[in-house]
């Protein structure tokens, strides 16, 4: 029941919010749905729930990790949105809150469904729920961003549907397209069709994740979308897309096709790091910089998945770390942009003086996202690197390490510049109202990311271990 509640609560709230004319009621629905969703997921951590509707919906360890990222981020974004909507009034008014809630429902569907075609339906629904939110300013730039996003994501996800049908065609035994049955009867899958299915699904979900070279929509979309939408995209949406890919990887490794899958994943992973490093250097727009950072981290996820073994553990942990860190960064940048009025780095200098709290959060976020201790991403990136070197890919380990160093420089230079640089004239807008609501979220997230870096509670370690084993990995 609780599993269905995860879908129904946001859907009902979306409809109810759309019916209200007053923004106060809409905000209340947003907050209530976010909190109830968070409470439901918390209760699932304490007492797990069995599968419902003939095993179509179930919550395994992997799904729980992704669902937790989604629900934490959404609760934080909901609080942030209440503050944001007081100062900004994005066009589309009523639909704004409903689209956010629709996004929560569709990401929950992706995290819960163990029927791959249903997972596809949820994945496409996430694309569509966010599209109106990107086009909030109704100007040429956001129009271009939403068009690229829609066309590229839709084509990618259409190819994933083709891959799903190939997978159905490859299956001779068991109930069609159910993850459990696919894994159990993996040895009977028709290998040729399974490989074709994997390639289509990799391209499809890879487009949605934004791994290079399928990332073309990402900088434009993240650059133009409101920061809270970008936070949901970079933190929650990409994690869901990764979950889709991980489900296919589960089937592939159970079918003994790891030798076919791993080189492809490694190639996409390393290439994403290369592209991210190349485009970060000289980047002058803060939000586009973060978008390339997202390309980098998606590359790391795919890399860890491709390495297998301990790399799988690093990847599962990195889903958690990356999701929360991206939320922290985009929300903080959103706060800073409200003060500076631009995300163009040279015009933003002096942030630490003009918005000290947000400046400090951005500094913490910089160290977290570049994988510096004591933050969470350090642990997961270190695990993935260790897996590369320890499991017979020393070259990949060395290249990754070099690229991570370049990326550190590429990110640190502009961010330190805008934090400490001398403000070059320009009118400093007064700090907008409702600052407390907008600061609460990033503060919670930075504490969580810090906690993940120093201490993993026992229940979390157990869930991570089960998720790793389901991917055929090894727990260090």
């Amino acid at each position: 029941m609780r599993l269905l509640g995860l879908l129904l609560v946001p859907l009902v709230a979306a409809a109810a919010a759309y019916a209200h004319r007053s923004s106060r009621f809409r905000n209340a629905w947003l907050l209530v749905a976010g909190v109830v969703h968070l409470a439901l997921v918390a209760s699932l951590w304490i007492t797990p729930s069995g599968p419902v509707l003939g095993d179509w919906f179930a919550l395994d360890a992997l799904g729980l990790v992704v669902l937790s990222v989604v629900t934490i981020l959404f609760a934080v974004v909901a609080v942030y949105a209440v503050g944001y909507l007081r100062t900004e009034s994005p066009r589309g008014g009523r639909a704004f809150v409903s689209c956010l809630l629709g996004f929560l429902a569709s990401t929950s569907l992706v995290a819960l469904s163990h029927h791959l075609a249903l997972l596809w339906v949820g994945m496409e629904a996430t694309t569509l729920a966010l599209a109106p939110l990107i086009y909030h300013r109704h100007d040429r730039r956001s129009l271009e961003a939403v068009w690229k996003y829609l066309v590229l994501s839709s084509v990618g996800i259409a190819l994933a549907l083709l891959g799903t049908f190939f997978l159905a065609a490859a299956q001779v035994k068991g109930r069609p397209l159910l993850v459990e049955d696919l894994v159990l009867t993996a040895k009977t899958l028709q290998p040729g069709l399974l490989r074709a299915a994997f390639v289509f699904l990799l391209v499809g979900f890879g487009t949605k994740m934004g791994i290079a070279p399928l990332h073309a929509w990402k900088p434009d979309t993240y650059g133009e979308a409101p920061s809270l939408v970008a936070a949901l995209m970079a933190g929650a949406l990409t994690s869901c897309a990764f979950l889709g890919l991980a489900r296919v990887a589960q089937v592939m490794s159970a079918a003994g096709q790891a030798a076919f899958m791993q080189p492809l994943l490694l190639a996409f992973g390393v290439f994403s790091l290369v592209v991210a490093a190349a485009f970060m250097l000289g980047q002058t727009d803060l939000k586009r910089l973060l978008a390339y950072s997202s390309v980098e981290h998606m590359g790391l996820l795919v890399l860890g998945l491709g390495l297998g073994g301990k790399g799988a553990y690093g990847t599962v942990l990195h889903v958690l770390n990356n999701g929360l860190t991206k939320g922290l960064l985009f929300l903080t940048v959103g706060n800073i942009v409200l003060v500076t009025g631009t995300s163009h780095v040279p015009s933003m200098r002096g942030v630490l003086r003009r918005a000290p709290a947000s400046g400090a959060l951005l500094l913490a976020g910089l160290f977290a996202v570049t994988g510096s201790p004591p933050f969470g991403p350090f642990v997961s990136e270190f695990t993935i690197l260790g897996a590369a070197i320890g499991q017979g890919h020393p070259w990949i380990g060395a290249i990754t390490l070099g690229l991570l160093a370049v990326i550190f420089v590429g990110m640190a230079r502009p961010i330190l510049d805008l934090l400490y640089g001398e403000p070059g004239g320009g009118s400093a807008a007064p700090d907008p109202r409702a600052g407390g609501l907008r600061l609460a979220g990033p503060i919670v997230l930075v504490l969580l990311v810090l906690l993940l870096g120093v201490y993993l509670p026992l229940p979390l370690r157990e869930v991570l271990a089960r998720a790793t084993l389901s991917l055929g990995g090894v727990v260090p």
Partner: protein, 212 residues
């Protein structure tokens, strides 16, 4: 029944070529609507033992792909008052040639694919050909509206492929897929409206402001 379904599949390929060769936006949409109607008849032709599932699938396809979406796109061009696809990246004759190559390639590939118990030998090659034609239209046409039609054709190709699995994929899922395609094209259509208003043109080639 196989003869009838083969006929329908051949008609799908013909509409593919119609879309590739035509210059008028309204005929492109008309061809897409016709293709949608053919696709609606396809499940009934392929699965002579009628069930509620098959009839529902056919009816849903007819409403979404043959009536509502084409009607919506027609309205879009009427309001934008554009008629012709100008200067595609590759010419119309050339794209017909590419389409012919795509069909030949699809038949060659489909023969090598180890597909089990497919009802008709034409199903998979036609599906692949339509997917490729959809991609060609998407990538070589400059009007945003034609690109939306290209996306629709791409989805149609995947739908034809899905026919080979129709008995294994439950109704609920197919309903979800149809709904997603519907909403997707709808939102794209709305964006096309806005592109027209902002740029006084339906050309997506004008969208070049964002770059590194």
């Amino acid at each position: 029944m196989t003869d009838f379904s083969d006929l329908l599949l051949l008609l799908v390929v013909l509409t593919d070529f119609w879309i590739l060769g035509t210059t008028r936006l309204s005929s492109v949409i008309r061809a897409a609507a016709l293709q949608g109607a053919i696709l609606a008849a396809l499940p009934i032709a392929l699965h002579p033992r009628l069930s509620l599932h098959i009839i529902g699938l056919g009816a849903g396809t007819l409403i979404v792909k043959a009536i509502v979406l084409p009607g919506f796109l027609h309205r879009a061009i009427r309001e934008a008052s554009v008629r012709r696809e100008v200067e595609p990246v590759i010419g119309f004759t050339a794209s017909l040639g590419v389409g012919a190559v795509a069909v030949a390639l699809s038949f060659a590939v489909a023969q090598r694919l180890p597909l089990p118990e497919s009802q008709t030998a034409l199903l998979v090659p036609v599906a692949l050909a339509t997917v490729i034609v959809g991609l060609i239209v998407l990538t070589t046409r400059s009007k945003a509206l034609t690109q939306v039609v290209g996306y629709l054709i791409l989805e149609n190709g995947i739908y034809v492929f899905g026919m080979s699995q129709a008995e294994r994929v439950p109704f609920l899922v197919e309903l979800g897929v149809l709904l997603d395609v519907f909403v997707g094209v709808f939102i794209m259509g709305i964006v096309v409206f806005h592109i027209n208003r902002e740029f006084d043109s339906l050309s997506s080639a004008r969208l070049t402001e964002l770059r590194d």
